[in-house]
Point group: C2
Chain length 221, copies 2
């Protein structure tokens, strides 16, 4: 990746959890509160809807160029929007193919749920993958199709191996303000949140609370 990427507090959007607010509205508030990267994810949207959604989020992020925009799965949407990158799961297009399509400057992330899946990523040529999403730390209702929970110990082990292999790592799955600091302490470069921000009554405040927790400050009650 060519530009700096700050994975500290990485928001993955969930259209249903944001409702009745729009996703761009929630993203704007979340970024104001301290979210440092945004992944647009909507597995139920049509490709046309996802393109429109991504463009709308991109417009919100135009004011904060340090906050990178990543598209879940949809490489064609990333190409059309000029988003910063794509995040793929184990069923999506393989990372080398995504790299071929997006070129050397894109940010490419891969979901990893086990040591074996991390080995697969580490076996790829350097520069194929930038980031691994260690998933799930804990099981979560927003993504029921994931494998067994890694827990803090499993996350720590994978984060260390990712770092040794030159990969940025983020952890995702069931992370909330009261557990964010413990997850960050495993050695990951950032944490991902979905419901803690998307479903929050005040997404900006939720993001601020998470940032404070990551900074080791007392989390407001």
């Amino acid at each position: 990746m060519s530009r700096p990427f700050d994975p500290t507090l990485y928001l993955v959007t969930d259209t249903a959890l944001c409702a009745p607010r729009s996703v761009p509205e929630v993203v704007a508030a979340a970024v104001a509160g301290g979210v440092t990267a945004v992944q647009v994810r909507d597995k139920t949207a049509s490709r046309r809807e996802l393109l429109a959604l991504t463009r709308a989020v991109q417009a919100v992020l135009a004011a904060t160029p340090s906050v990178r925009l990543i598209v879940n799965d949809a490489v064609d949407v990333a190409l059309l929007t000029g988003a910063d990158g794509v995040h793929v799961g184990q069923d999506d297009l393989p990372a080398p193919e995504v790299r071929d399509l997006l070129g050397p400057n894109a940010l490419i992330g891969v979901s990893v749920g086990s040591a074996a899946e991390l080995d697969d990523v580490l076996a790829l040529p350097a520069g194929t993958v930038d980031l691994v999403g260690l998933s799930p730390v804990w099981s979560t209702p927003t993504k029921p199709d994931t494998g067994a929970a890694l827990g803090l110990e499993g996350t720590r082990a994978l984060a260390a191996r990712a770092r040794a292999g030159g990969l940025t790592s983020v952890a995702i799955g069931g992370i909330h303000a009261d557990t964010a600091a413990a997850v960050a302490a495993t050695g990951v470069d950032g944490i991902c949140v979905v419901s803690d921000v998307c479903a929050a009554a005040d997404p900006a405040a939720a993001a601020r609370t998470l940032r404070a927790a990551l900074a080791g400050e007392r989390v407001p009650a």
Copy 2:
């Protein structure tokens, strides 16, 4: 589109209907029987599965370069495989965006179910869309999400307007050997079939029967 495209008998694959045979196996037989173009469609496959499926069909078609390979919806898969084109529905990426991604030589088709949807295609700059799929001629269980059936009269009216606008047209939806000639007589450039070939005990024979019907020959009992 740069190379000739023969839409006479256009097969749209259905993985479930092909089972227990593989899609490439059925495609090979269908092409031997006279299918002139193949669209890989699998709305339930993951992107990774669709990539593998498209590559497998492409390998089958390597021996018959006149049979063009079109990918349903997945522009990224078309880019990765070098397929001849993409067919998009009303919920998929808009045709101008697909053209941007695939370039001037790709074959781009759009599903059209009404005069208004055809007007939208005809209003695009020349060269954006090559082909319209008039759909459905009759309602069909393989694609329950379509609009009202066009019937032969509706198909004839849309085919004439498509032709006047410089577009190739094919008809799809509920077409079988006993109705193929009547559909072809509406003025479309080709007919699409799904179940009549994919679900046939002998896909090669089914394709031969359809070609014979289109040629005005007596359909074998």
